[in-house]
Symmetry: C2
Subunit: 436 residues, 2 copies
């Protein structure tokens, strides 16, 4: 029986057109991260499962990771996220290096998901993190990186917004004002996390299971907050201003920068329970077909604890290529990349000209040009057909007479200009190819 | 108990210095492949094991792949090589696209190896392949890509050589001249594959187990061939010239190009048994400490057969990043990449200048500069210490007086030049930064 030609469920075959798009996306990610002097890092595809057990949520461990026993009886998993690897690496070197540390990576990750729009089993994810920055300054910079990235793709405030919250503020409301126990708090976080996806009635019902009427009243005020002003008012009413000082100072810094055009307060943003200890955020696509987080992140204080290392404040985000591509395509912000780049197609008419034609190709490649050398003899008609099919603007023709004169004819298919050059006149050939 | 900080055995933590090296390597791979108009592709990290069973060797299946059962009861493996994925993808589209197809990828791959110098469990590998090229022309081009790649790293014929052979020639000698059965032939291929690693006596002993004296005599002549001339003589003596026609024509084409400086005939090169049907080759490091194949490849005629597709001639090679890095380091062909790139470190003295300093950083980043914005106040002494530690050549200083004048002072640490600029005079700031 013939084998299946399909890729494994939830993964992608990236044909050249798709891969060119992805390369463009990776290039912009890299350029943006490096414009902020973030340094690249990378880690193994496999980690021991214990690393994920220590910090990742139970849902991830029980339902999503690709875990197995290797031939040496180690329990390993394909990385489902990069942060545990990052923490492991930073734990090795943080005592010796200058702070802050700014690191980025674009790893491939796998989770056993039910494949759907914007969610596959394998994706690539830009991870940017800052360790050891003074309070709030790292938070501002990490948001600036995310915004610069989307701006570098041509996006603006019509396309996306940043939804902000702070775990310390939420904790203050839940624990100080509402007097919840840790267990109630944990359950209520889950409710918050689901609040946007359920009806008002369903939300009330979930509340009733956890909260008494007084608690519920505060919670409903909280969950309906629309902006920073309303938050400040509620905090004043609840006498919690002190607990929001750091967050509000952070918001004030954002207001002093280009971030002011993008940020909104959103009480429903709390992110996963396991890492975050301060500011949390999601970047949301504003496209009506695509209302979804493009990117999520936040501040974490205790990531190195599992390695018995002292706390080191960190802030970071992850942004996946699948949702990003949906975002860019929904807003018409990415080319279709249908054709390969090429500066010139070189053809020869007879075997006798192979050597000089091939040499010309090599000479031009050595000058950083992208040259397609046609494999096989091609008379004029065929040569033009090939150039047309592959959308080459320039075509080089070498036949008997050109070879006799040590020349090549180069034609610009767009302008219909044609010109003969000596084969060794590389400089003028390049000028001709670049002139148009 | 604290978790281990070490990476999984046989894999690498790539800290920024290592990752910068790897990025440089990937950039040269990509630029080189694209200079030949190879198009990028990529595929899934996981494939169903059946795909590897169909074509990869039994050693790979039984001892080397990372295979497991997924949560949906599929038997899957982390890709140990890219060729099966490539074949699966080409099988989907080869009927619709113009030939030849030139594709490249740089995937991460895993094999359960015993880690040692030049061999890890996880590596990245440049794969270049051409499908549907006329006889020998694809073969020449694929070698030209490999040579251009190593030349683009600064290597030349003192550093590496290309060892060539042809499976059709070997088959002719084994089957026509020596009259071996398929089974003997299979065994003898294994002997050839090991011949360089064993003593002359051990080799003779292995021969005696398979061959009669007459066969052995021919084999020993074959295995001692040193160059193309000796090969031609032996083939004439054995009346096998017809079977070597294509190979010798290929060698003749190589001689007409820059490949002539690199190629040598080597009877011990046969590569794995499973794919190859024509020319086979390895690129060998000439460094005495590092006598090892950097790259291997060859021609395969029947790769699409397992998908019930018609034969499509292909030729390709794989070149891994671990052996390549050893090669480049042994020959002093790669920088140490100890420090990040940066055009400017921006510092401010007091909180009051944060806003304008941060704005300057953003304005310069929007002009494609790499800017490190110091997080936190820094008086002069501290600012210079930071610049020195991180090896910034340029440092921007913004204090009270600069802020009052809407200015920034920029210092070139190398030349000791210092100059004041208006904060919005981005053009002149860039000229100053780029002048040295």
């Amino acid at each position: 029986m013939a084998l299946s030609k399909s890729p494994y469920r939830g993964t992608r075959d990236l044909f050249p057109q798709d891969k060119r798009k992805q390369q463009y996306i990776f290039d912009v990610m890299r350029t943006t991260a490096e414009s902020f002097c973030f340094e690249p890092y990378d880690g193994p595809l496999l980690e021991e499962v214990d690393l994920y057990r220590a910090k990742s949520g139970t849902e991830l461990i029980n339902e999503q990771i690709y875990a197995f026993i290797d031939r040496g009886e180690r329990e390993v998993a394909i990385r489902p996220e990069m942060t545990p690897t990052l923490a492991r690496m930073v734990a090795q070197i943080h005592r010796e290096v200058a702070k802050p540390l700014r690191w980025y990576a674009i790893p491939n990750l796998m989770r056993y998901e039910k494949p759907q729009r914007g969610r596959l089993r394998e994706h690539w994810q830009l991870n940017c993190d800052i360790f050891g920055a003074p309070e709030n300054l790292g938070e501002v910079e990490i948001l600036q990186v995310a915004v610069a990235l989307l701006k570098n793709f041509g996006a603006n405030q019509n396309h996306f917004e940043i939804l902000l919250n702070d775990r310390r503020v939420v904790d203050a409301i839940f624990k100080m004002a509402m007097q919840l126990t840790d267990e109630q708090c944990y359950k209520l976080y889950k409710v918050v996390d689901r609040s946007k996806k359920v009806t008002a009635e369903a939300l009330e019902k979930m509340c009733d299971e956890i909260l008494n009427p007084q608690q519920k009243q505060i919670f409903l005020q909280y969950i309906q907050l629309k902006n920073f002003g309303e938050l400040t008012n509620l905090l004043s009413k609840l006498n919690l201003n002190d607990h929001a000082k750091s967050f509000l100072q952070f918001v004030e810094l954002c207001q002093q920068s280009e971030l002011k055009d993008f940020i909104t307060y959103d009480p429903t943003i709390v992110r996963g329970l396991d890492y975050y200890t301060g500011v949390v955020f999601e970047i949301f696509d504003k496209h009506p077909d695509n209302r979804r987080a493009l990117c999520g992140g936040g501040a974490y204080a205790n990531l190195l604890q599992i390695f018995n290392e002292e706390p080191l404040a960190g802030i970071g985000f992850g942004l996946g290529d699948v949702t990003l591509l949906d975002f860019l395509q929904s807003h018409g912000l990415i080319d279709n990349y249908a054709h390969q780049n090429s500066n010139l197609l070189i053809t020869y008419q007879d075997e006798a000209q192979w050597k000089i034609a091939n040499q010309l190709a090599q000479d031009l490649r050595a000058n950083e040009l992208q040259i397609e050398f046609h494999l096989g003899e091609a008379k004029l008609k065929k040569a033009f057909q090939i150039a047309e099919k592959k959308q080459h603007q320039f075509i080089a023709l070498i036949g008997e007479s050109e070879a006799a004169n040590g020349e090549v004819q180069i034609k610009n298919q767009k302008t219909r200009d044609a010109k003969n050059f000596k084969l060794n006149d590389i400089k003028n050939i390049i000028d001709f190819l670049k002139a148009n």
